[in-house]
């Protein structure tokens, strides 16, 4: 199976093409999807035509509801949100309708809908309303979520999301969207609920969510020079979660630092911390640390933007704290 170098968004584009070619019930819906600024849906209109590649008016709530209704009628919609915060106008249709209908209806319907959520996370002065990392909101509602950070994983998880018979949100961290890497040509699905050890290490498990995994790996390489070995674990699939993988890693190291781009209070880092506090208590050698964004809108100006998000300096301080902890 030949692999070419693609960007993460190109890999997703390939996933859309291959799946849409396979199944005529897959439709792709979103704003400006025929001429996407970032390219994720480039060419779909030529390949599949306007009946299956649909430019929406700026009506996110209806967009989400249309997808639900179409899915009930047997379609498998892919719905693109160009900005993470566009989940908010559609929120009722997501968390109160799509997430609930299969259960409330007693299993009468499945909802094979894929939400593509682009531009997740803070970067480059996108400021307060274009820098959200709102995955915890969907997780809290029980919506399956994945967050790939390499082209290879992006293709495989996008295909898995499309093939899943439940709503699945694919969060695309803005700072990983342009990353390049090898991508096999054939269509392949990666399993949901499977995380990955990105770097084995003895001393501290750093759970790195989303694009943070990349700088965390760099920081780990640096820290290794000082004799501290971080294990870097990436969840990839936030719900279902690879609890086994998570618990195994922290069970080995006895120390955990969770790095997540979402807000802190009631966020995904808190969820992982609570899981570890419940399930891994006896093997913990130090308090569990969270590195998240601060509970503020991301400030526009560069310096204060940086203050609000996790970075290597904050990670090193946290590593020091957990390594030096004495009960």
């Amino acid at each position: 199976m030949a692999a070419r170098t693609l960007t993460l968004l190109q890999a997703m584009n390939e996933a859309f093409r291959q799946e849409m070619a396979r199944d005529p019930e897959i439709v792709y819906v979103g704003e400006d999807v025929r001429a996407p600024a970032r390219g994720e849906s480039a060419g779909l209109i030529d390949a599949f035509g306007p009946a299956r590649v649909i430019d929406m008016p700026i009506s996110e709530a209806a967009m989400a509801g249309v997808a639900t209704g179409a899915a009930m009628a047997g379609a498998r919609p892919i719905v693109a949100f160009q900005v993470t915060s566009l989940l908010f106008p559609a929120f009722d249709q997501l968390v109160n309708q799509a997430a609930k209908l299969p259960h409330m209806l007693g299993g009468q319907t499945h909802l094979p809908v894929t939400y593509i959520v682009l531009g997740s996370g803070a970067r480059d002065g996108r400021a307060g309303q274009h820098s959200d990392a709102p995955h915890a909101h969907l997780l809290h509602a029980g919506i399956k979520c994945v967050m790939p950070t390499t082209p290879h994983d992006a293709k495989g998880l996008t295909i898995a999301a499309i093939r899943e018979d439940d709503p699945v949100a694919v969060f695309v961290p803005a700072l990983a969207a342009g990353r390049q890497g090898p991508v096999p040509e054939d269509a392949y699905a990666l399993p949901l609920g499977r995380g990955a050890v990105r770097r084995p290490g003895r001393d501290v498990s750093v759970i790195a969510v989303g694009h943070h995994v990349h700088w965390v790996l760099a920081a780990a390489a640096e820290l290794a020079k000082t004799g501290i070995e971080l294990e870097v674990w990436e969840p990839l699939s936030l719900l279902p979660l690879d609890r086994e993988g998570l618990l195994a890693s922290v069970g080995r190291t006895g120390r955990a630092i969770i790095v997540d781009d979402g807000n802190r209070t009631c966020g995904f880092a808190g969820e992982l911390s609570a899981l570890l506090a419940e399930r891994c208590f006896g093997r913990l050698k130090a308090p569990i640390k969270r590195l998240t964004r601060s509970d503020i809108p991301i400030p526009y100006s560069r310096g204060i933007e940086q203050t609000a998000v996790p970075d290597a300096g904050k990670l090193k301080a946290a590593v020091e704290q957990v390594m030096q902890w004495r009960g």
């Binding site: 929406m56 008016p57 009722d92 409330m104 299993g107 009468q108 499945h110 018979d165 719900l239 609890r243």
Partner: protein, 336 residues
């Protein structure tokens, strides 16, 4: 003459369906007081001509989305009263296996995409279903039922636009029963509903929602247009709920509806009106009508007995159906 017979049969079918809905609804207060139905229900009493008039124009494979006041739509689209009662009683034999209750009644095999607890929320789903029929070239139609209150909900207005732009086979049916809970629609609108719908590019029409035949005729036109690729329509049906907003309003007086207004609308009962008209036109006799009433009564008895005899879902089945595909500890239990 054959045509006339078909029309009579259709009207009698509508009469019987309306009566079934009425009796289904009338049973609820007693069942609630007896603890057999859980919580409260939004009765459809008075509005039967809308659901029945519209659904009579639909095929089995057409679909409807409904509201918190959804029993009427569901029964009109062909749902079984027994399984509906069972759902209201929280039984495993209910349409939703006891998961949904009154506000979520659905039967996908009958094209009933579900009652919905959120005002306006079903509208985009109807558009999505209709868009799917259109893409596939299927001659199917989707109907979105909603109340007058929903006409000010953003997602519904967005849906009107989508339907008009895409020209999908959808019929929006606004049941204007004049009130949203205690709020009179005239106090929250500055212009007519039909004009608003038309302004989106929909074929929009107002119809007497107390007259099943009038509703049915308008619905037939709208459905025929939709099926023929002529695009989306909007029907505003003027109607009235004879009871309170929900059963919890019994015995209370929130003072939002003048007694004479209620009385005047009650005199226009759509079931009595159609039954009398058929009799007046010589389409059936008083005895035939009484037989129809008795058959509905028997149907309700059977339905109640079925529901009562049914079992509750096992307590440990609460987590079933959340996902098509489950993973370890998904959905998360509250205590693990």
């Amino acid at each position: 003459m054959a045509d006339n017979r078909a029309a009579i049969d259709r009207d009698i079918a509508m009469y019987r369906r309306m009566r079934l809905i009425r009796r289904f609804e009338e049973w609820q207060p007693a069942l609630i007081d007896a603890g057999e139905i859980i919580g409260h229900t939004h009765q459809y009493i008075g509005q039967e001509a809308v659901a029945v008039g519209v659904c009579q124009a639909l095929n089995a494979d057409d679909v409807v989305t409904s509201t918190h006041r959804g029993h009427g739509h569901v029964l009109a689209k062909g749902a079984d009263a027994g399984r509906s009662f069972a759902e209201l009683m929280g039984k495993e034999t209910g349409y939703n296996k006891g998961r949904g209750g009154s506000m979520h009644l659905a039967d996908l095999s009958l094209g009933i995409y579900g009652a919905n607890g959120i005002v306006g929320a079903g509208a985009p789903m109807a558009v999505g279903a209709a868009a799917t029929f259109q893409r596939r070239g299927e001659p199917r139609v989707a109907v979105a039922f909603f109340g007058d209150g929903a006409i000010n909900q953003g997602v519904l207005l967005e849906s009107l636009n989508l339907a008009a732009v895409w020209r999908v086979p959808v019929v929006f049916v606004c049941e204007n029963n004049q009130y949203a809970v205690t709020t009179a629609i005239r106090d929250v609108l500055a212009a007519p509903i039909v004009g608003r719908a038309a302004s989106f590019g929909l074929a929009a029409e107002a119809v007497d929602g107390m007259d099943a035949r009038a509703v049915h005729n308008a619905a037939e036109r709208a459905v025929a247009r939709a099926r023929a690729g002529g695009g989306a329509s909007f029907l505003e049906c003027a109607t009235y709920r004879f009871e309170g907003h929900f059963t919890a309003e019994r015995g209370k007086d929130f003072g939002y509806r003048p007694a004479d207004e209620v009385a005047a609308w009650r005199r226009r009962c759509p079931i009595v009106a159609l039954g009398d008209a058929l009799q007046g036109e010589g389409a059936w006799t008083a005895a035939e009508r009484a037989t129809a009433d008795a058959e509905v009564e028997a149907e309700i008895e059977r339905a109640l007995a079925f529901a009562r005899a049914s079992a509750y879902p096992p307590a440990d089945s609460a987590h079933d159906f959340m996902y098509a595909r489950s993973y370890p500890e998904t959905p998360a239990r509250g205590w693990e």
